[in-house]
């Protein structure tokens, strides 16, 4: 039992990283499409962009609720430390997601009035700000949180550092890339062509962001540096940057050659590698640099009870989520709405 109690937080750490990853890529392309409203002014094409995600965005955002709930139930020590630490960016992110979420309906319901423009703007700005806040929160976790006696003891703006802002901008760029490649896959004609063009530029931006963050991170804390340079750890981590470059090359060629699905899958691959790299870097900390997964976890009885439910429910959830995506599969074109 002692052994099992030791393993439970590890299992949950993996589940949490998986839930966050699923959220990041799924809502990532939703938020990315919101940001791409800045580049696409035409209402018909904006409608197509929204139509590709309207039936699924709600489920995508639910992964974020799951992330919050798992943190709350399984790692309450982390939930109670990280949320006060990132109080302001979290509040701004939630407010932004409100604008983004209601804009799906409101921009259509106010069609033909001046308010339609406002909700289009709310959709774009809400998406951009939410993405930026998520990035700075991520950066804030990597650079660490001041903790005394298990509670947050820093100040309200600790997260606002050059590193945090770099992470915020990188995540914005990354989500926009996910959105653009998603639209390459799901749309046709002029919009698809424009998205190929944007995707190529965004990919360059994200690559630069990843390189900058990767080079900066090891110098934030001593253990991070050792994780990436010590023998034999380096054998474990070396494939990450190599795969990153390989996927980038594949994406570039797929965008040029007119593949519709490959660029999106490559972008997903990039996110997967970045999140894996992040996990490797901060392991075994839940709240770097002081609280480990075991320091912040709830009693084994809570973790076990929740694990039973998760083992049953997660496969079911994934099944009907995939079903729902399949119902709405295929390309969406501009003429569809106007017959």
């Amino acid at each position: 039992m002692m052994d099992f109690a030791h393993w439970l937080p590890i299992i949950w750490g993996v589940i949490l990283i998986a839930a966050i990853s699923i959220y990041v890529v799924l809502d990532g392309f939703d938020l990315g499409i919101g940001m791409l409203f800045a580049l696409e002014r035409d209402r018909t094409r904006r409608d197509v962009m929204v139509s590709t995600i309207a039936p699924v965005w709600d489920g995508n955002e639910t992964w974020m609720v799951l992330g919050g709930a798992v943190l709350y139930g399984v790692f309450p020590g982390a939930y109670a430390t990280l949320l006060p630490a990132f109080y302001l960016p979290i509040i701004v992110m939630l407010a932004s997601l409100i604008f983004r979420g209601v804009a799906f309906e409101f921009r259509v319901m106010t069609r033909g009035t001046v308010r339609e423009r406002h909700w289009d703007f709310g959709f774009m700005a809400g998406s951009a700000l939410a993405a930026f806040c998520q990035g700075t929160i991520l950066g804030g976790v990597i650079q660490g949180v001041s903790v005394t006696d298990g509670a947050f003891s820093g100040s309200a703006f600790d997260w606002m550092t050059p590193f945090g802002i770099l992470c915020g901008l990188s995540v914005m760029c990354g989500y926009a890339l996910l959105g653009a490649t998603w639209l390459v896959w799901r749309t046709t004609g002029q919009l698809e062509a424009a998205c190929r063009h944007w995707a190529a530029r965004l990919a360059v931006g994200l690559f630069a962001g990843i390189v900058a963050v990767s080079l900066w991170t090891p110098f934030l804390h001593e253990p991070y540096l050792h994780r990436w340079t010590d023998w034999p750890d380096i054998l474990l981590v070396a494939p990450v940057p190599l795969l990153l470059v390989a996927l980038g090359a594949l994406m570039a060629s797929a965008l040029r050659k007119g593949h519709s699905r490959v660029p999106f899958l490559c972008a997903l691959g990039w996110f997967f590698l970045c999140l894996t790299g992040l996990g490797i870097t901060i392991w075994p900390y839940a709240v770097p640099p002081s609280l480990t997964l075991w320091d912040v976890s709830s009693p084994p009885s809570s973790q076990f009870f929740q694990l039973v439910g998760t083992a049953i429910m997660l496969p079911i959830i994934l099944t009907y989520t995939i079903y729902s995506y399949r119902v709405f599969r295929g390309k969406v074109s501009e003429t569809d709405g106007y017959h």
Binding site: L71, I98, G309, S333
Partner: protein, 477 residues
């Protein structure tokens, strides 16, 4: 006394009350409306009558707006426990966090997963599967209600836990005891019925509005309008009395497990038999007296103990620092009860009109039904104020004080977040309400689309999202 910490605590409480108060209206609306939509689609499939499909398409647009607002305001709640109540989260998270996770996994995903199919998918999946999707969404809202009320009830009447002596954390001992804690069944029934009743009066008021409008324009009201009004009034007639019985049972449960809350709800200070029921009064927490009290002798004992000489608790039975603020819940409780009685009267009145065949022709009754539009929601909010303010000064009743639950967040951050929430909520949800009211101001038309069910959802989809139709399968393109 009023140092920065106290003000921050007060703001944290006010912010939570504000955000959850706005939020709760939307899930309540969704719970009732999803069930109504499932009934409408089921009736359409079994009877084949166009009017049920018309009503389904009419109300699903309102549903998509209300549900969206519920999702975004609910996301705030999932994180606000941590931002504002981190000590509570850390101590109670092993119990309440786990229950919330179960809610997400068994309910939120189910609702969200099938909402897309429900809104946009009828011509893609066929009638049977589409009906199944509607039912999944409706069942999802009910599962969600169950979990969140289990969690809330556990905070009111905690059971099945142990307290860790070093960390002060609540450790789960017995999950069945945690979930089926003493107040849970009563709260679950009372809340679910409240959601149904709220939607019944919102639907009824919409029908009443259109009948009044038709009358003004010298037209006969359309069939969908009459059917929705009639269905809503049946709901009021049947559910209002059941809800009053459920509320009574819930009150007795509160008397047993949270007597201090009950004393504060009643404005009673000394424990006595033959207690009066106060109709009005202003409880004064300082002088320990309810001023200007107007009461009916013996009825207090009768209601609370179902006997004339039954002993009811008084606030003086409890130390001053364990009394909930009676001056708030004395009134919120009375407003809720008064609205409940009004809803009961409207339900009974509708029976009388039904018997006389004047249900669709009485302008006075339609005006009353229109005025009752927010009655269910107001009663529901007053009920929540009563039970949550009545839980004070505790977050976990009798065990963890609200003052010891709050996050170590500085006052200035609290002020900023409060400002953001107030502005964003008023703007966004105010706009949403405006859109909803305008949308319901349009009359549902009889057979406005091709009766061929394969065409219907496309028209809905196009109206809601102009380009949602899929190119590869696009039958209607």
């Amino acid at each position: 006394m009023h140092n920065a910490h106290d003000i921050a605590l007060l703001l944290a409480r006010f912010q939570f009350a504000f955000t959850v108060g706005v939020h709760i209206v939307f899930p309540a609306f969704s719970i009732g409306l999803a069930a109504y939509l499932a009934v409408l689609e089921g009736l359409w499939l079994t009877t084949g009558r166009q009017v049920f499909l018309d009503l389904y398409r009419y109300w699903i647009k309102a549903f998509s707006i209300v549900f969206g607002m519920g999702v975004v305001s609910g996301l705030v709640m999932a994180y606000e426990f941590g931002t504002n109540w981190s000590i509570f989260s850390k101590k109670a998270g092993p119990i309440t966090g786990v229950l919330l996770s179960y809610e997400v996994m068994t309910a939120f995903f189910l609702e969200a997963g099938f909402l897309g199919v429900m809104l946009f998918g009828m011509n893609k999946v066929g009638r049977g599967l589409h009906f199944a999707a509607t039912c999944c969404v409706s069942i999802g809202t009910l599962i969600s209600t169950t979990w969140i009320l289990a969690s809330n009830s556990w905070m009111q009447t905690p059971r099945g836990y142990r307290i860790d002596p070093t960390s002060g954390q609540f450790l789960p001992d017995d999950w069945l005891a945690i979930i089926f804690n003493p107040s849970f069944p009563y709260r679950l029934v009372h809340m679910t019925l409240a959601a149904f009743l709220s939607v019944a009066f919102a639907v009824g008021a919409t029908g009443a509005w259109h009948m009044l409008k038709s009358r003004r324009e010298g037209k006969i009201s359309s069939e969908p309008v009459r059917v929705m009004f009639s269905m809503a009034m049946w709901m009021a007639t049947i559910v209002a009395p059941i809800q009053i019985l459920a509320g009574d049972a819930h009150g007795l449960n509160t008397l047993k497990y949270q007597p201090a809350k009950l004393a504060a709800m009643e404005g009673d200070w000394t424990s006595e038999g033959h207690a009066p029921e106060l109709l009005f009064g202003i409880p004064n927490m300082k002088t320990e007296h309810t001023d200007y009290a107007v009461g009916i002798p013996l009825v207090g004992s009768l209601i609370l103990t179902h006997s004339l000489d039954g002993k009811v608790p008084g606030m003086k039975d409890f130390p001053r620092d364990q009394r909930p603020p009676s001056q708030i819940i004395f009134f919120s409780f009375r407003i809720m009860v008064a609205l409940g009685m009004l809803m009961l009267l409207v339900g009974l009145w509708s029976l009388w009109h039904r018997r006389n065949n004047t249900l669709f022709t009485s302008p006075l009754f339609h005006r009353v039904a229109l005025a009752m539009a927010p009655a269910g929601f107001l009663a529901l909010l007053c009920g929540w104020v009563t039970t949550e303010v009545g839980r004070q000064p505790w977050t976990v009743y009798g065990l963890l004080r609200t003052a010891d639950s709050v996050s170590p967040v500085v006052l200035s951050s609290m002020v900023v977040s409060m400002t953001i929430f107030v502005i964003v909520y008023i703007f966004v949800f105010g706009s949403g309400l405006g859109i909803l009211v305008r949308m319901l101001g349009h009359e549902p038309k009889e057979g406005e689309s091709n009766p061929d069910p394969a065409q219907a959802p496309e028209i809905l989809a196009i109206r809601t999202h102009p380009a949602v139709v899929n190119a590869s399968t696009g039958k209607g393109a």
